[in-house]
């Protein structure tokens, strides 16, 4: 039996019933990594011995009826931005391949382990998380399972591809402007950008202290709930979903045609697939409600002012030396931050208050606001721009890749990204559902309903399927 693509709940159930051992799940994931990581570059380091030892230990615990935790015996992967005691943490930087060695494990990784998860490896990423392609010049371009010459998206590209290729059951990523949602869109997987502050970012190298979020990633929305609950900070009470779990009827879906569903801001193919998905939702009983967010079209400079300034501040002082080892692309972004006037940074933070109020007004009328996950389908490697349907090309470097994603970081609200169909070339298209602060369970509930109703998720067909 091929266990690599089992739904998480089925894997848990089989473990609980003793129909399978954690060791078997781990071995299957490690075999998959052995077979395909050379082509996909999803992992920077794989923890063969540690993962097997931990699986054996957890199997012994289970044999004594000592099983506990949401992810007991489940193989997971973490972006190589999280410190793991005894391991290097490369952040995708060539100079950090062998060290420094971390003295502590990041609380989010520890939380997964406390829930019983087994970390099989640390995943590849866009260098220093500063980009959306995961074309890492040092650890290899992360290749998309749906087309090996196409980008995986980023910056948490390795985590998304590890999921898509059946190398783990859940993964950790980080998101400052779309870094879990972009790769989820590109690879047909799911990711939940969480409300600011509800997961612990300590031990994950920062880009922007006020916008970074530690986020769960999984193959499907259904699989996201357990890793999400596992990494919430202790003491955080997540409001339960406030609506019926089995129906989309009565759901109020916010439609913003000026920005989030503006065809000029995305590829035509993306618009067609997302529009069709929204029509399907309407047929299933949701109400489409127009929403207006007055300043959304002008908000991106504020995101950039905060991102560049805070990242330049992170890598200033003694850490400025680290910039010498970074690629010119990343150094350049940090240099931008050195030149943002403090007045603009402060006004960007003040603008955030205004934008937050505008979203709050919109969320008083609707449950969610929908948009594409990203504005394009995964392009071939090596491009800096792709053709859009408007007057200008869409940039893959920053603005085009994060058009629909950065607002949730700017105002600190959650957003779920899940597949909603495929392009003519068979590449996945992502749908983003944005909700008000702390609405994660509602978003997961809605995403789960969509998944069950429309079956938008499917496994990649290419040669990575082990049965092929």
């Amino acid at each position: 039996m091929n266990t690599n693509f089992l739904p998480l709940k089925d894997a848990k159930e089989m473990l609980r019933k003793r129909e399978i051992l954690s060791r078997e799940l781990v071995d299957a994931c490690l075999d998959q990594i052995e077979k395909y990581n050379g082509k996909l570059n999803a992992f920077i380091r794989v923890y063969l011995e540690q993962a097997r030892e931990r699986a054996d230990y957890l199997d012994r615990m289970r044999a004594r009826n000592n099983d506990y935790g949401l992810l007991f015996g489940i193989p997971v992967a973490v972006k190589d931005l999280f410190e793991i005691k005894g391991q290097p943490c490369t952040c995708g930087d060539k100079s950090r391949r062998y060290g420094p060695i971390s003295e502590k494990t990041a609380p989010a990784v520890k939380a997964l382990e406390d829930a019983g998860a087994i970390v099989v490896g640390s995943t590849n990423m866009h260098e220093w998380a500063f980009g959306g392609t995961s074309e890492n010049p040092y650890y290899g371009y992360v290749n998309n399972t749906w087309g090996p010459d196409n980008i995986s998206g980023g910056s948490s590209g390795g985590s998304a591809v590890a999921l898509s290729a059946g190398m783990c059951f859940a993964a950790l990523g980080t998101d400052t402007g779309g870094s879990v949602r972009i790769p989820a869109s590109c690879t047909g997987t799911s990711a939940l950008k969480v409300t600011a502050g509800i997961t612990d970012g300590y031990g994950a190298y920062p880009l922007s202290w006020t916008m970074d979020t530690v986020c769960p990633m999984a193959r499907t929305v259904e699989d996201l709930a357990d890793p999400f609950l596992a990494i919430c900070k202790p003491g955080i009470k997540i409001p339960a979903a406030s609506r019926r779990e089995d129906s989309l009827k009565g759901l109020r879906v916010g439609i913003n045609e000026e920005y989030f569903l503006n065809p000029d801001l995305m590829q035509k193919e993306v618009y067609t697939v997302v529009k069709k998905a929204i029509e399907s939702m309407e047929k299933a009983g949701v109400s489409l409600v127009p929403v207006h967010i007055p300043h959304i079209g002008e908000a991106q400079p504020a995101h950039q002012a905060i991102l560049f300034s805070e990242s330049a501040a992170v890598y200033s002082g003694e850490l400025r030396e680290w910039r010498k080892n970074m690629s010119p692309e990343v150094s350049q972004f940090l240099a931008f931050g050195d030149w943002v006037p403090a007045v603009n940074y402060i006004n960007a933070l003040r603008f955030r208050n205004v934008l937050h109020e505008e979203f709050a007004e919109a969320f008083s009328k609707v449950d969610i606001i929908v948009s594409p996950g990203i504005s394009f389908v995964s392009p071939p490697h090596g491009k800096t721009n792709v053709e859009g349907s408007g007057e200008n090309d869409l940039s893959l470097i920053l603005d085009g890749a994060i058009t629909f994603d950065f607002p949730a970081n700017l105002i600190g609200t959650p957003a779920l990204c899940q597949p909603c169909g495929f392009s003519a070339d068979g590449l996945p298209v992502g749908l983003q559902l944005m909700g008000p602060a702390y609405s994660e369970m509602m978003l997961l509930d809605i995403g789960n309903c969509l998944e069950k109703e429309f079956h938008w998720y499917r496994h990649p067909q290419p040669y990575y399927d082990p049965s092929a």
Binding site: G235, I238, P239, A302, P328, Q332, W339, N347, N353, A437
Partner: protein, 67 residues
């Protein structure tokens, strides 16, 4: 009285870290980035006040004392 160029040169010297970040960089790209950032909408209103921390935005009680 210094000329504008001299004054800017002196200011640049005073801000040595930022000046050093120009070395070897595509200065046009930096100029473009700064120009873009200057486009933050002018929502200035004295009553808007200072910024809030991002968690201050949300009024939902998220701490569970029972845990």
């Amino acid at each position: 009285m210094r000329s504008k160029e001299e004054a800017f040169g002196a200011l640049l010297e005073a801000n040595a870290p930022a000046a050093s970040s120009l070395e070897g960089m595509d200065v046009d790209a930096i100029i473009d980035a700064v120009r873009n950032i200057m486009q933050i909408p002018d929502v200035n209103d004295p009553w808007l006040g200072p910024f809030k921390s991002i968690t201050e935005f949300h009024f939902c009680d998220i701490t569970d004392e029972s845990k």
